[in-house]
Structure formats: structure tokens, C-alpha cells
Amino acid sequence: MLPSRGERNTAPALLRTLLARLLPRRERGEILLEMDQLYEVRLARIGRLRAGLWYLRRSFGFPLRLVRERTSELAPALASDLRQAVRSLRHDPGFTLLAAGVLALAVGGATAFFSIVDHAVLRPLPYPEPESLVTLQEYRLERGVPEPGQPGGGISYPNLTEIRQQVGALVDIGAIASGSSLLLGADQPLRVRTGALEPSTFEVLGLAPTLGRPLQAGDRDRVVLSQGLWRERFGGTGDVIGRTVTLDGREHEIVGVMPSEFLADLPFRLWVPFDPDTYKFRDHRGLKILTAIGRLAAGTAAEQARAAARTVGARLAAEDPDANKGYDIAVLPLHDEVVGARASVLWRLLGASVLLLAIACLNVANLQLARFTRRRRDAAVRAALGAGRGRILRLAAAETLLVGLLGATAGLLLATMAVRGFVALDPTGNPRLAGAHVDLRSLVFAIVAACGTSILAGVIPLSRLRLSRLLETLQLGSPSTSEGLRGRRLRDGLLVGQIGVTAILLGGAALVSASFLRLWTYELGFDPDDVLTFGLTLNRDTYPESGDQYDFYRRLFERLEAIPEVASVGATSRRPLSQLDIFHELHAENDLDKAVEVRERPVSGSYFEVMRVPMLAGQTFRTGNGDQVILNAAAARRLWPEAPPDAAVGRRVRFASPVDAQGRPVFAEVPPWHEVVGVVGDVRYQGLEPEPVPAVYRPLWRQLRLGTGASFGIAHIVLRTRAQPDDLAATIREAVWELDPAEPVQELLTMNDVVAESMARPRFYALLFSGFAIVALTLCFAGVFGVTGYLVAARGREIGIRVALGAPPWAIARLVLLHGLGLAVAGAAIGMLSGLGLTRHIEGFLHGTSATDPRGFLVAMGVLALAIVAGMAVPCLRALRVDPVRVLRQE
């Protein structure tokens, strides 16, 4: 028997309130009532405490079970929605394929770039606890803290020692000195960049070697190989440990091989121990050329280390102003240094692909709008049969999700291919990209992007859903669809948006492509066909005197000229189209005050013949004494602007005397006069120059013979061949090794390869942006096609009536086209204006073209106009074929 009202007590207030909060409103009162009753019964039987415990135990079963019941009720409903959605999408393959295709293209592109940015920029460094790794750099205060990835930062050894002792926030520091060595013992003699590492560097970075062990304190004559060198030149076999190689004439034992991520951003192919005792610049505070990597102590912020380093830097500047005045020491995150300047380029590319996603979104929204309006009757019937707004929305949501998933799947496939293609073609050789692939994070990104876009695109039309208006459709009974003014404005707006964004992308592509084409068509100034080039760096131990070097080259030339397929041989100090040049100032004989900056190139006399650089006047270097130079036309014009370039022959020039930091001449003697013996055509040496740079050529052989000049035994040989240049590679190597088997043949390439390499980056970006533009254009075309087609269908009655009333075809065409063209112009205008605002983002990709060059935009607008007209063409034709009789009969 239940207690009567008067004796009733309710459950403990706290528990009851908690339970109330967890229950849905509809069931709350009922459940609380029942639980109160049961509580009272127990209260009487077992007492307050145990009744309270029972209440605690049993109350939370309610929310749990209710949720479980609800989801199991919902599941069949969702399943039914999905089945319905699949069916309805199957009946409308045009829409489904088009929408999914649009999404796939855009999502594929965006996912690909997300993957790339993720790997190259966002991922942490491959070392343990990468956030605590920093680099130390000394920098000039007036120039400010260096930008990430800016080359040239370093620290001097004595200053580094001070930091090590004084800055406790840095628990460990390793220094790396850069060098270059002759390596013998690999498959051929090689000249490699070597890094001299303090063994502590291995501990700082914490990466375990692939084979063997890292360098340790006390190691002498040991070497650790990089992964790349090991695989390329040592066969990638395990027996390399313990083998001996010769570095610069000294035997070294290979003790380990490091993984490819180890210091991947530095150009070193192997590492040797850094020995402070033999380090040439051990006491030079002023030479700030060591790379230093440090690890912050656990729990320390970079700020502490920074502040401490600054204090030390200030003290050092005070103690040794000659070396340190004006310098400070920066502590920068290693991640930023490694990622470097590439980050901004990649982010911009990601930005462009997000623009594509925006176009896709607008496109799909328009498609959805058209479809929804077409199927209004469907929805109206459903509503009449009792489907609530919620159900109709759910159905539509299911459809958008399915389309989104379709798009995501296809997009992922595209993205995988795109990433592979990008990594393969990337001319920057970004080591962080090597492992880039579409992974779980990219998968999530793709699904979110596709479904997000699809849902967003679906929301716009759905938001206009009004049940009452739906039912009106049924009542009106009209088979065609009529749209309010608002609806038309909405889809027009969407199309204008699409066209605008497409215009931006097209403009960007036009600029980048134009820039590339300009480079491509630059007069190089020489003939790169049938020319081979390779580099030699003579070992100073084998050829200590420049006379020995001259001897070697003379004999080499004899051998090379003896090869029947070789037509002529020449030499220069640096590889053509390389970017390392020495600049001097020249004075003309009659005008000592004028100094013209020229690029200096030591070359052999035969160089011009080999490269087919036209000799405009005079001749190449004469044998014999007397200082001679050859100028290019640009230099001659600068030095003697009032005369034609060939008049420079016979005149004299002088190099400006080198001065020190205070402007005092370094040498006491007056520099000698040089006679201009010839004037040659301009050569674009850096490949990417818009204007030829003035250059002066000096006789290479004379420099070698006399020991002047800064060749250091480095020379680049160029050969003009009669046969296909590739066939001669082995013969040339043999010729070199007959003279000296320990002499590495570096960078044996055809001149065409060298030219292509110098243009690799602009070509790559031109390709990329064109790719973007093509996709955008396709999407835009599809959008215009869809919208115009819909317009024609919607106004079919009107067109039929007009035709019946005698309207000529051009009037009908005008009806269709005018509307579309109006939108196109609006979109293009918006796009162009926005594009002008965004130009600064493009500048990094351009060479020699201004970002605001209107010609690029005009071309882009032309292409866009063509695409839009093409998109309107078919629907327009359809409009012209509307049968007025059929239309009238429907009335």
C-alpha cells in the first residue's frame, strides 16, 4: 500500500535536481513522479541513507536508456532517408555527376595543397621534442633580426663558446662548419660538401643513425655518410661501415649512415668531426660562419634563452668592438629556419586552391537551387502528405551529404595524383616535401571540405523553403516552375560571384604564364644546342701552383680537342647561367669619375666560339702579354654611351681599386690599364634577367699562368660537339681520368639542361597557375551552362509565346544572351578589381613582369568571355528551337 499524501517525502533534493536536468522535458515530470514514489516506499522500508543510495544508483539509468532507445528508433529513419536520397540522386544523374564532379575537382586541388602545406610547413621537425630546438645566429643590429630561412646567418666560434658557458637556458649546443672535400672511394671521385660537426650536435638533434653510430667526442678521421650519398654512391649496402674513404688525401673510416631527415635542409653529403684545435678560425670572433643548433632546457621558454643571449651579445660587443660591435645574437626556432621562405609560397598556393573551393561552392549552390526549384512539386506533394519541414530538410541534407561524399572520394583520388605530380615536378627540391602524400589528416580535410561545401551550397536554397509556398505550387497546378524575383536574384548573384573568383584566378595565371613566356623567349645570347659543360675543382695538394693547374688544363684541352666528335673546347670560371658572379667597377679611359658596375667573367679565348656568342667587333684574346679584356655590348654602351658599341675596340679601361671598410685603397699601386680587344653580344647569364648586365671578360689562361685572379683551380669546361652531346659523357670522363683518376667530373650536363634548369621554377609556377585557371574556367563554364540552361527552361513559355507572336531569332537570342552577358561583365569587373588588390601575393612568382600589367588581365578577360559565351551557346540554341505550338497547347 502506498503511503498517503501526508507522509510523502521526495527524494534528496540534489539528486532529484541532477536527474531532472538530464531528462528530456517531455518525460521529466512523469519519471520524477514515479521515482519519488519508489523512493518513498524504500524510505519507509530501509531508511533514508540506503534509500538515497538506491536513488543514486537507479536514477541515471533513465537518461542512458532513453538515449539508447531514441538512437535505435532514429537509425531506421536515417537509413530510410539515405535510401531515399540515393534513389532521388540516381534519377537525376546530370545533377549528381555535375555537382560531384565540380566538388571533386575543387576538393582534389585543395586537398592536394593542404597535404603539401601540411608536410612542408605545418609538420614539426623530425627530431624528438622539436619545439625545443633553436638556432643561434649573430646579426647586424641595423638589419634587424633575420627572417626565417634567410641565408647567411652564423656565429663565430669564440662567441659560441661564451654562449655555451653563459646561457643556462640552452642545455646543449652543436656547431657545424661548412666545407668541401675531394672524396675518393665511392664509385667515382667526387667533390662533396662536407659538414664538420661537433659530436654534441648528434645529441642535440637526437636522431638515431640508420647504420652504425654517430660521431663521438674524441673521434678522429671518422666520417658519417648522409642517406643520399650512401644510396647514390655507395650502393646502399650494409657493408659500408668500417670501409675507408679518402677525404682530401686523408683516410677516414665510415662509422655510420644518418637517416634522410637528418639536417635535410643543409647541403652536406657527409659529416666529419669538428676539431676546434685544427679549426682555422677558432680565435676569430669576427668570422661568423658556424651554424649552431641548440636545445632549450626542459621547461624553458625560448624567450629566456633569447634574453640571456642578448645579454651575452651586448657584453661581447663591449669587450671586442672590432669583431662584435653592431652585432647581436638571435635565438630562433629551428622549425622556422628549416621551413624558411618556402612557407609563404606554399600558403599562397593553398589560398588559390581555397578560391577554387569557393567557386565550386557557388557552382554547386546554383545547381542545387535549380534542382530544388525543379523538384518543388515533389516536395510539395510530400508536404501535403504530412512530411514536416524537418523531414524535407533532412532529405535534402542527406542528398547534399551524399553528393559531398561522392565529391570527396573522387577528389581524394585526384589529390593523390596531384600530390605525386607536384612532388615529382617541384623544382625547388624542398626536402620536407619528399615524403608528402595524402594521409589521414588530408582525408579528414577532404571530407570536411567536400561535405562543408556541399552543405553550405545546400543551405542557401533550403533556407528559402516555406511550406506554405510549396502547397501553393500544388494548388496552382502549373507544370512549369516559376520563380520569384528573389530567387532569380539569388542565382544571378551566385553566378556573378563565380565569375568574379574565376576572373581573379585567370588573371593570376595570365600574369605568371606571361612572365614565364617572356623568359622563355629571351634572347639567351648564345646557342645552347650541342654544347656540353662540366666542372672541375683541382685539388690544391696535387696542383699547388697555378702553373700546375694551367698545365693540367692545357693537356686536358689537347685530349678533348682530339676527340673526333668534339668541335671546339672552351673554359670559364663559373658555370654559365649560374648565379654566382663577381662584380667590379670599371673606369673608362677618358672618364675616370664614372664607374660602371660590371660582372667579371674569366674565360678562355675559345669560349665565344664554343658558345657561339657573336663577336661584334675586334677579336678574342691574343696570345702574348699585355692586359686585355673583352666587353659585352651592354658594358660598351654604358662606358661610352655616345659611340656605338663596336667603337670600344682599342680603348682602355681600368678596374677600380679595391677598398677596405673605411674606403681606403687596399693596394698601394695604381691598377693597370687594360686594352679592349673585342666586343661581344650580350649574354643573359642569370637566365632570369630582364635586361642584359654589363660584363667584362678576362683571359682565364693568363690568370692561371700568372697566378692572378680568383679561380682557385675551379673551371667550367664547355664543349661544342658534332654528335649528340649525351653520347660523349663517358668519353669525356675518361679523358679527365686519364690525366688524373682522382679528379671529380662535376655537373656534366648539356647546355640545354642547364637552361631548362634555370627556368624550372618559373615554368613550374606557370604550369600550376594555369592548372588552377583551367579548373576554374571549367567550373565557370559549367556554371554558366547550368544557369543559362535553367533560365531557358524556366522561361520556355515566354519564349514560345514570343515566337508565336512573331519574334525573330535574334530577339530570342538577345533575350538569353543579354542576361548572361550582363552577369559576366559584372563578375569580371568585380574580379578584376579584387584581383588588383591581391596582386602583391603574386609578385613572388613573377620575373620581369609587373603584377599590375594590364595586358595580362586583358588576356584573362578575353578567355573568360569566350568561356562564358561558349557556356551560353547550347542553351541559346535550345531556346531558338522552342516549339511555340507545343507551348501554347500547354496553356
Binding site: R5, E30, Q37, L66
Partner: protein, 111 residues
């Protein structure tokens, strides 16, 4: 339409108890009765959810009204079996009896 069936022993117990207590069967009363008869503690939420399920299957019907007990101030939900529910009970019991046929000796030894 296929006849709804009783799924599981618990549904059977709840339906049976509801039939016993009808027309005064409400959740708390069913819980108390079940505990008294089975000697086990019964989960009120399980009974609540089972009653809803039985109603969805058409085996019980419910009605919200003022209770008969003195001092009842609030409406509560009362359950009673439908004709289908009673039929399901009958069928269920018949199956059990058939299954138990000739097994008294088993029960007898273990009792």
C-alpha cells in the same frame, strides 16, 4: 501485418504484471510488484522503457489520468494490456508450457 511478439523474459514479466495490476498499473506500482514477486531489485528505468516499447508494439495502451489513491494531486500514466497484448501473453505461456512438458522431474530433483 505480423503480430507483435514479446521479446524476452523481461517484457513478458512487465506485461504480465501490468495485466495483473490493471487498471491501476503505473510504473512505480509495476516495479514494486515485480520486486515483491521475484525477490530481486528491479530497475525502474528498464520497466519504464519496456512499457514504452510494449506500447509502440501495440501490446499495451496508456492513458494519463488522476490516480485513485487518496491525496493524488498529479496525473500519471496508467497502462493496461490490449487485446493483442493478452493474446501475446497467452501464446507465450502456451509455448512455455509446451517446452516444460515432461520436465517436472528435472525441476523436482533440483528444487
Amino acid at each position: 501485418m505480423t503480430a507483435a511478439t514479446i521479446q524476452g523474459e523481461f517484457e513478458h514479466h512487465v506485461l504480465l504484471t501490468a495485466a495483473r495490476l490493471a487498471p491501476g498499473a503505473f510504473t512505480a506500482a509495476i516495479v514494486t510488484e515485480l520486486e515483491a514477486r521475484t525477490g530481486r531489485e528491479i530497475s525502474p528505468s528498464a520497466v519504464y522503457v519496456t512499457l514504452r516499447r510494449l506500447e509502440a508494439k501495440g501490446l499495451v495502451r496508456s492513458e494519463k489520468r488522476r490516480g485513485d489513491a487518496p491525496g493524488e494531486l498529479r496525473d500519471r500514466r496508467f497502462f493496461e494490456p490490449t487485446a493483442q497484448g493478452l493474446a501475446a501473453l497467452r501464446a507465450s505461456r502456451a509455448s512455455l508450457e509446451r517446452l516444460w512438458e515432461g520436465m517436472e522431474s528435472l525441476l523436482g530433483e533440483e528444487a
